[in-house]
């Protein structure tokens, strides 16, 4: 591949998403006639695509799957999935589905053909129920996790009876800080040593080690929040020796403090500062970058 920097930049900006409609159309035309250029665009998409790992998942409404099945021509063979009570009800007049041999196969092999359809149906229904149950379980884990850790974060109606309100899982009322934030804590010179991620809705933060950064023997890295709204730096705790350290301690701070603060790492005695004050200059620091805007 021997492309000019203009072409490389065009491919990269297409993948980044900043081109206007005309330029996007131009890139798509180029891709349709130039395989190597397509490869270059796809490579940029792949490269930047890892950023999507940091994007929070959002469950779409269940009816979207029905629409997709209709649009792909799959919908005509199956009664819509309802919730578990459908398990016992076998619709008597559903036409035999033309299913590829699958889960029902082994079972079907040992029964007479009159039962094949029924078994395949059941297998299919069970699969549908299983994925619905998995989604419910995931939602429950999230709700219960918050309830255990910090029930106050949940909207009033989510507190007492999580089981009946699974479908109500919504963000806490939009606060000033409810996006996703990342800070790259960097030293002199070079790239970041720690990546701090803050979930605006819960104010949970996670510190991730990057590269081979480690404190000297007998010392610990301690994370501080420095804000002009606070009289002195506040410790957010010692950064553990594991690759990840996750804590909810930011919940005690106002959103604008969390958002505007500088996050700094100092070297302290093993186990952290004994008196709540930092004892070294920051070796790494950075500010939060909003990667996901707050709800408006």
């Amino acid at each position: 591949m021997d492309y000019s920097e203009d072409h490389i930049a065009l491919a990269a900006e297409y993948a980044l998403g900043t081109l206007d409609a005309d330029e996007r159309a131009q890139v798509e035309t180029m891709m349709s006639v130039d395989k190597d250029f397509t490869t270059m665009v796809r490579a940029w998409e792949y490269r930047l695509g890892s950023l999507n790992q940091m994007v929070g998942s959002v469950e779409p409404r269940p009816e979207l799957w029905e629409r997709i099945k209709t649009a792909t021509g799959m919908a005509d063979q199956q009664a819509p999935l309802v919730l578990p009570e459908a398990l016992t009800a076998m619709p008597p007049d559903v036409p035999p589905p033309e299913l590829p041999p699958r889960l029902g196969e082994q079972a079907a092999a040992v029964v007479d053909t009159g039962n094949v359809v029924r078994l395949q149906h059941q297998a299919r229904r069970w699969r549908g129920v299983a994925s619905a149950m998995a989604a419910i379980a995931a939602a429950l884990v999230a709700v219960i996790g918050i309830q255990v850790a910090q029930p106050d974060w949940l909207p009033e109606r989510l507190r007492p009876k999580p089981r009946t309100q699974i479908v109500e899982v919504k963000p806490p009322p939009a606060a000033a800080l409810s996006g996703q934030f990342v800070a790259l804590l960097q030293g002199q010179p070079g790239g970041p040593a720690f990546i701090l991620t803050v979930d605006g809705a819960t104010k949970n933060f996670t510190v991730r080690r990057v590269g081979a950064t480690s404190a000297d023997p007998g010392k610990s890295f301690e994370l501080w929040l420095i804000s002009d709204k606070l009289p002195k730096p506040r410790s957010l705790g010692v950064i553990g020796s594991d690759e990840f350290t996750a804590r909810p301690v930011l919940s005690g701070f106002d959103a604008d403090v969390v958002n505007g603060a500088t996050y700094a790492v100092t070297v302290e005695q093993a186990g952290g500062s004994p008196d709540g004050n930092p004892h070294s200059a920051p070796v790494f620091s950075g500010k939060l970058i909003e990667t996901v805007p707050p709800a408006r």
Binding site: Q53, G56, L99, G191, I289
Partner: protein
């Protein structure tokens, strides 16, 4: 979330018309893809439309997925993201701010485990993004996550359009160099 290898296997099955595999693929990936496009489109109706088109395209062109060129989730997310960006660029009159209800559904459920699962590719990319000046880091991340155009970025950064264009280009070239490409 299934492993990349499991997703590759599912996509291969979908390419052969396996409907159950398609359903599993949808179940495993829908929330991630929906999260990605909802962030860009900010409207449930548009995001659903894009997700529907995306999965129809995946159903129809699963055979084109090349595991040597991309990861399954990145391939799928790129289809979704490109459609979302095409939509917002073509509908420039689309005003996000006019839709106060738009983000009601966009709950970012706390998902610390996802961060534990950062791939090597992401770590490398973030290291390279981290070498840009702070404003450029923000520029690149806002562009990617929000699908913002240069105009929107120029407004946000209070800079002339051509300056933003130069910043974007330089930033991308620096990332390219940093990644050793």
């Amino acid at each position: 979330m299934l492993t990349p290898a499991e997703l590759v296997w599912l996509i291969a099955a979908v390419a052969k018309g396996d409907e159950a595999a398609f359903e599993r693929l949808y179940a495993a990936t829908r929330a991630k893809l929906y999260g990605v496009v909802l962030r860009i489109l900010r409207r449930q109706d548009l995001a659903e439309e894009v997700i529907q088109e995306t999965y129809v395209k995946i159903w129809n062109s699963a055979g084109q997925f090349n595991p040597g060129l991309s990861s399954p989730i990145t391939w799928m997310a790129s289809i979704a993201r490109n459609r979302a960006i095409d939509l917002v660029r073509k509908r420039s009159e689309l005003s996000i701010e006019e839709e106060p209800s738009a983000m009601e559904v966009a709950a970012d459920s706390p998902d610390p485990l996802a961060r534990r699962e950062m791939t090597e590719e992401l770590k490398r990319l973030l290291e390279c993004v981290g070498r840009l000046e702070p404003d450029r880091q923000k520029l690149v991340l806002l562009a990617y996550y929000n699908g913002w155009s240069r105009e929107q970025l120029a407004t946000k950064f209070d800079a002339p359009l051509n300056t933003v264009k130069t910043w974007l280009r330089r930033s991308l070239m620096e990332i390219r160099e940093c990644l050793g490409l």
